[in-house]
């Protein structure tokens, strides 16, 4: 999947671009995930060495935050809000219908790797729920059939 030499070189560039920051670890991890779609395991020792941290510390940070993936996600990531304001506007039904429409029994990735459905707690669209993010695009007053149609297109 990743050519070892290219990978290490590109990772080095990413790390170097952030070394001037105070507290550079989270910005580096965001940039790594932006580049490869997840935090590849081989990145951890290299980041640890560059920041003079233990591997366990970096691993601890990666695993603490919900955003950081250790496996690649589907081509499209769908986030459905599961928090109270959306619950009050049919959020639970939306989640059930979207999962059903995509042939999933729980949150996760479709077998063909096309769509990953995740639950999130609040997108700040609380007066016009239920809400979702389709990729980077906010969707308010979301309807399951519209979301599924777009996800399967």
């Amino acid at each position: 999947m990743l050519d070892t030499a290219d990978f290490a070189a590109r990772l080095r560039e990413i790390i170097d671009a952030h070394l001037g920051l105070e507290g550079p670890l989270l910005p580096i991890l965001h940039a790594v995930q932006h580049e490869w779609g997840h935090i590849p395991e081989p990145a951890i020792p290299q980041i640890a060495a560059a920041l003079n941290l233990g591997r366990a510390e970096v691993h601890g940070v990666v695993s603490f935050y919900h955003d950081f993936r250790r496996e690649p996600a589907g081509k499209l990531v769908l986030k459905l809000c599961a928090a109270e304001a959306c619950q009050a506007q049919g959020g639970r039904d939306l989640a059930r219908d979207v999962l059903k429409g995509l042939g999933l029994t729980d949150f996760g990735t479709t077998p063909d790797g096309k769509v990953t459905v995740e639950r999130t707690f609040c997108l700040g669209l609380c007066a016009c729920g239920p809400s979702a993010m389709v990729g980077d695009r906010p969707v308010a007053a979301a309807k399951a059939e519209d979301i599924c149609r777009e996800a399967l297109a």
């Binding site: 919900h66 955003d67 928090a83 009050a88 609380c126 016009c128 993010m133 695009r137 007053a141």
Partner: protein, 508 residues
């Protein structure tokens, strides 16, 4: 022709990008010169996308707009089917006291000229001529308290940092607005980011800090982009940088993005996250004001606290203090959300009752069914029954009713809600988001879910156990996540006992 189409994430979620494109297409088709401004939202979310056209008599609103409604904007607008009249005369808007949000929706959020033309930078200019102590005194006098929810007097916090000797101090803006039902921080960062920059610069002047961070959420990509761009513009214009406005000390800032951890809205966990660590809560003391970011004295304030400061500095502390009720001074941006007919952001002086907020301003439920419960203050806030609708909106007033105002989110539920499920969700949320440092929260929340499930199955011994568990979490947790989760759970149990009893009866 000057047309405003909001780029606020809620407006985008409701289709404002397509409306903006339609406006552009239509203007081209007719060969009309067009000035299209992507403003913030006026806060009337149920009318979004809300388009405004500048006319000789001011700005006229149309909404909720679809691309199909756009061509008629270029005909006789007085006969447009979506016409709402002059935007600032709309009753929902006119009733407000917009101080902190005065410019949100009004100006082009990334135009520093527009910002200054509408009173921006006046507060910073005044502060530049004052001593740090005089600025702090002004903020103290205004009565401003932490708008993140804790309600700590902002001026006293600033004074602690000001008096702490250190070679480096920080201003950290807590923009990790994770509470469901709240979107004031997002709306302000997207709709008037320079106000936050100005507030942070004034804070820097007051306490002697030269560096600021805005820690916000990965769930808010639009706010991250807008804030980052605004900082770049402010730096290029010399507002920020080696010398504030070219006449003050240095102050610069940057945006940092969280990674989906709710607990990072807790200030010490946020500081750990900024330092690149796991977002684990720190024990207090030491207070962040003494030992904060990288062990240095740090002001940690919510977006709205900081964004209220420019108005206070420009108009005087007394003018701000004249608004409000009891010890809750000034205005509060109410965020009316959930199952509501007229939801959005409504800035008003403290003191409206919960009933006025839900029924008069919100117009009741969108579903048309009776209101059953209102959760105030996010996932750690209590559920209020209709019987408590006479509670005035203020820090002490809500505390006295077994609740909290938090970040002023008001989430309305109709009578289809099952309060046992809401209590279960509160525990489940705490279990998912616990940082794991203290046992009452880490273990208690998991046991809490199980205990609510036992109640649902009709186990009569589970009820006193849940009450006992809530007491332990409340008294024994290190921070508000474990400590306040009992608010929604116990308020559901106390005010809606029928939802917990039906399961028992069914089992018998």
């Amino acid at each position: 022709m000057k047309v405003y189409v909001p780029r606020d994430a809620a407006a985008r979620g409701l289709g404002s990008d397509a409306v903006a494109q339609a406006v552009q297409r239509e203007a081209e088709k007719r060969g009309l010169p067009l000035e299209l401004v992507r403003n913030g939202t006026r806060g009337m979310v149920w009318l979004e996308p809300l388009v405004e056209i500048e006319t000789q008599s001011g700005r006229t609103a149309f909404g909720p707009m679809t691309p199909e409604d756009v061509p008629a904007l270029f005909e006789d607008i007085t006969r447009h089917p979506k016409a709402l009249g002059p935007v600032e005369e709309m009753p929902w808007f006119a009733r407000q006291t917009r101080l902190t949000f005065a410019r949100v929706g009004l100006i082009d959020p990334l135009s520093l000229q527009d910002y200054e033309a509408h009173g921006g930078l006046a507060g910073l200019r005044r502060a530049l001529a004052m001593s740090g102590q005089a600025i702090v005194d002004e903020v103290k006098l205004s009565g401003l308290r932490g708008r993140g929810g804790a309600g700590f007097p902002t001026g006293i916090k600033w004074d602690t940092v000001r008096l702490a000797p250190a070679p480096q101090k920080y201003i950290v803006c807590n923009a990790d607005e994770g509470d469901s039902g709240t979107f004031a921080d997002r709306m302000l960062m997207e709709g008037d980011p320079f106000t936050l920059i100005e507030g942070m610069a004034i804070a820097g002047l007051a306490v002697g800090a030269t560096r600021g961070y805005v820690y916000t959420r990965s769930e808010y990509p639009d706010a991250v982009a807008q804030m980052t761009e605004a900082i770049r513009i402010a730096r290029a214009a010399g507002v920020l940088g080696p010398s504030l406005l070219g006449q003050g000390p240095a102050f610069d800032m940057e945006v940092r993005t969280g990674a989906g951890a709710y607990v990072c809205g807790e200030e010490t966990s946020l500081l750990n996250s900024l330092e690149g660590k796991r977002g684990v809560v720190r024990a207090k003391p030491p207070l962040p004001a003494i030992e904060g970011l990288f062990g240095r004295p740090t002001v940690v304030n919510n977006v709205i606290s900081l964004a209220s400061v420019p108005w206070i500095m420009a108009n005087g502390a007394q003018a701000y203090k004249d608004f409000g009720l009891g010890r809750s001074r000034g205005t509060i941006p109410l965020q009316i959300a959930g199952n509501v007919k007229q939801g959005g952001l409504f800035e008003a002086a403290f003191g409206l009752t919960l009933g006025e907020i839900v029924n008069d301003i919100g117009g009741g439920t969108r579903s048309g069914r009776p209101v059953k419960a209102v959760q105030v203050g996010g996932p750690l806030g209590a559920y209020f029954p209709v019987g408590k609708f006479d509670t005035p909106f203020g820090y002490e007033e809500f505390d006295g009713q077994g609740g909290l105002i938090g970040h002023a989110g008001v989430v309305i539920f109709d009578d289809s809600v099952d309060m046992l499920q809401q209590a279960r969700f509160a525990m489940e949320f705490c279990a998912v988001e616990s940082c794991g440092k203290c046992t009452p929260c880490r273990i208690g929340a998991v046991r809490g879910v199980e205990t609510v499930d036992r109640i649902a199955q009709g186990d009569p011994t589970a009820m006193p156990l849940l009450v006992d568990l809530c007491e332990t979490m409340r008294d024994g947790s290190l921070c508000a996540l474990g400590g306040f989760t009992p608010y929604p759970v116990m308020s559901a149990l106390t005010h809606f006992p029928d939802d917990f009893a039906t399961a028992r009866e069914a089992a018998e």
